[in-house]
Amino acid sequence: MADLTTDFIGIRSPNPFWLASAPPTDKEYNVRRAFDAGWGGVVWKTLGAEGPPVVNVNGPRYGVIHGADRRVLGINNIELITDRPLQTNLDEIARVKRDYPDRAMIASIMVPCEEEAWKAILPRVEDTGSDGIELNFGCPHGMSERGMGSAVGQVPEYIQMVAEWCKHYTHLPVIVKLTPNITDIRKPARAAKAGGADAVSLINTINSITAVDLDDFAPEPTIDGKGSHGGYCGPAVKPIALSMVSEIARDPETRGMPISGIGGVTTWRDAAEFIALGCGNVQVCTAAMTYGFKVVQEMTAGLSRYMDEKGYASIEDFRGRAVPNVTDWQHLNLNYVTKARIDQDACIKCGRCYAACEDTSHQAVAMSADRTFTVVDEECVACNLCVDVCPVEDCITMERLEAGTTDPRTGRIVQAEPADWTTHPNNPGSPNYVPAGQDTMVSEPAE
């Protein structure tokens, strides 16, 4: 049996599934239920400075995007950090950590961007017995208007400064939680590293409006006829999170920095993908909010089974294995030529591949009078759209043309040796560049 225990920046947990700082971790009651259900750790709902707690709206704070069958694809929220007194939270954290010593307990913190404020709260957090702290530089609504959350996360200098304060005033490991509401995620990650942070976690939620009410003309969620942008999370944000994680994992300046992966983790498979891109663990919010804490049982069992099947004894055996395969477009092998293939036995004749290719792509799916769909190799550019829109899994697949065969679309013989844009004759920066007007000009694959 695979060993799911993880040691993330010195913090041990029985499995890599932590609950992200959010409503599921806002109270002792919830967190006890989470630990009883099997979660490996929690990042407590973000604590604010001593004093009157923040207030939340008293109307709807969530909006949603549904897929078929009202499956939750994405949720957005306009909730702020914890609205309960600081001391109450600290007392509860201490009690829970005492009763569940094997679980990871991280305190998420967001106080004003002043040294005194951090100096004041950090010792009190330490006293709870927490295993680490996470700096919430990501909350994109409400708190950012007050100069906190993503307002800090969007300014790398601030990130570095606050990380330095934290490293100075506490011995606890420091995780900096990044906002995705920024153009280049590597900048804040580098700043966190420069400030001495032990790890980054990402992503926090994405600025979003889920819908507009067409009777009231108000954005959703709507509070008395008005709405403000909220933070988007759930399965819909996973691709954005994976990409941002990969950027940090392969950036020469931050490579090797521990990452806690967050954003749309809903199944064991999602978690394994984050781990393959270098994450030491994952954090989950929306999946728990949608299905309850029990989902972790599918996640741990699934990850364990996958690892057994692959022969991985621990997370470290496959962590980061996908990172070297994330590259720049210019390095992709242009001699890798594939064609779509339709399995006629699996085909249910819906014709979606035909509509997609005929109307919006390359007219490479032929349709016969009896609704047999076949790929026209002369036209197929291998874009994969037909595979994506086909409702039957594995009915359409991509088959590689062997080296030495002729691609009927280009009439060119498929080369065994990889070749990419950097050496392509159409690339002005390539040593093989052939200026326009000379007939050797190659008209593919320029799309």
Binding site: A68, D69, K349, C350, G351, R352, A355, M367
Partner: protein, 441 residues
């Protein structure tokens, strides 16, 4: 099982009012909004969808289902009615298992088609409940068309002609319009007076006058209609029923299935409608199934359908057969009526002869108790003067053109096409377009 069910003879009151109300309630109750959304989400929005090709009226099914998905059942209804003005009735009575739903790619994928029929009902019910009629009559053209028969073919034709601004008079032999929608379709497929409600809704287009109790042959003649109107559309259905050709068919208890069903459909208090204890239905189509199932639902103890061929040749769909079987109707195959045995002028037994697949008798017979026997061996055309026939029906070419240049025909009375409500609607609609074309040229 009530005690009254064990009483021999043909009598009323075998079941109480509660049982009867339950038995004759909606076979497929309408979907609620949640169920409709779940069902609609399963549609793949296929390209050149096979379901459309399988629908005799070519309703754009993926489009209307997408309109339900996007929260506009009324827009979906408009898509349906554009092709099929009786989309409400068709949603209830179409044998979808042999039409659109058989063609659904999810039938191929999972053996569970999208519930097209019920979604169609959801959409059409929404618009009809709102009282909205989405069509307006074009300015009066001054042309007048007579439609004979107010069944689905006649009404669909009349509506389309009215849309084009022609003045239409519909004549029907029966006291109520609707044809078999009103007098034939099984009660549990179209309960709660839907047939008349649909006719009322359809007539909102304006420009259509209905004259009931007027029949060709009884006061009306085709030649008079031809001289009074610019065109005539015949949609008289199939009124005649063949005899079994046996001695004693005049015994009490020997009836036409369609007459039994018509009586049932027009009977307000089913506790007073008589039914036999032992009932035998001769035939293998939808009429046979409907008569047998409704006999059972009225409280007949033993109901047998005797069909002459093998099961796979039965005209009633597998779904209909299963419906009958699930109601406890016995399906017997390879049997033809051989003799009727009556006592005191009342039917007591039917003697059935076994036949081989090639219809030759095996020599063996069996006697089955029967207080009541329903003939469901097919309806036939009651001849109309002066028209060429083909296979016992009015011969037509193109969109219902008969051998007379100002007379069109469609629905069950015209040759070609299956005898279904939806086919009748398609033929009525297409004939109307053809009549409009020829009146406009």
């Amino acid at each position: 099982m009530t005690e009254a069910m064990r009483l021999d003879g043909i009598r009323a009151g075998r079941l109480g009012p509660d049982d009867l109300a339950r038995n004759f309630g909606d076979l497929h109750p309408g979907l609620d909004a949640h169920e409709a959304t779940v069902a609609a989400d399963r549609c793949y929005f296929c390209h050149d969808a096979p379901c459309i090709a399988a629908c005799p009226t070519d309703i754009d099914i993926p489009l209307f289902i997408r309109q339900i998905q996007t929260g506009q059942p009324e827009a979906a209804a408009k898509t349906i009615f554009d092709q099929n003005i009786m989309g409400g009735m068709c949603a209830r009575v179409c044998p979808v298992e042999t039409l659109c739903q058989e063609a659904c790619v999810r039938e191929a994928a999972e053996g569970k088609p999208v519930e097209i029929g019920r979604l169609q009902r959801y959409a059409t019910d929404a618009m009809m409940a709102a009282g909205e009629h989405p069509y307006a009559r074009a300015p009066d053209t001054g042309r007048r068309v007579a439609v004979v028969g107010a069944g689905p073919a006649g009404l669909a034709c009349a509506h389309r002609l009215a849309m084009h601004g022609h003045a239409v008079t519909v004549y029907d032999a029966q006291p109520k319009p609707g044809g078999l929608n009103e007098y034939g379709i099984a009660a549990y497929k179209t309960p709660d007076g839907f047939a008349q409600a649909e006719v009322d809704w359809l007539l909102k287009i304006g420009g259509i006058a209905i004259e009931n109790d007027k029949a060709i042959g009884k006061g009306l003649s085709l030649s008079a209609l031809r001289s009074d109107f610019d065109a005539v559309f015949l949609a008289v259905g199939l009124g005649g029923v063949g005899a079994l050709g046996l001695d004693g068919e005049d015994a009490a208890g020997v009836e036409n299935a369609v007459d039994f069903i018509a009586a049932l459909r027009q009977h307000d208090d089913l506790t007073t409608l008589p039914i036999g204890r032992h009932v035998v239905v001769i035939g293998g189509g939808m009429t046979a199934v409907d008569a047998a199932v409704q006999a059972k639902l009225l409280g007949a103890e033993v109901v047998t359908i005797a069909y002459r061929r093998t099961r796979d040749r039965m005209p009633a769909s597998r779904w209909e057969q299963d419906l009958a079987a699930s109601h406890g109707v016995r399906l017997a195959f390879g049997l033809v009526p051989h003799a009727l045995h009556a006592r005191g002028g009342k039917l007591r037994e039917v003697e059935l002869a076994y036949v081989n697949p090639d219809m030759t008798p095996t020599g063996e017979t069996v006697r089955v108790r029967a207080d009541q026997l329903f003939r469901a061996i097919g309806q036939k055309l009651e001849a109309v003067e002066g028209l060429d026939l083909a296979g016992g029906k009015i011969a037509v070419t193109g969109a219902g053109r008969t051998s007379l240049d100002d007379v069109w025909a469609g629905g069950d009375c015209a040759a070609g096409g299956e005898d279904l409500t939806v086919t009748a609607v398609a033929e009525g609609r297409d004939a109307a377009e053809d009549i409009h074309g020829s009146l406009s040229s």
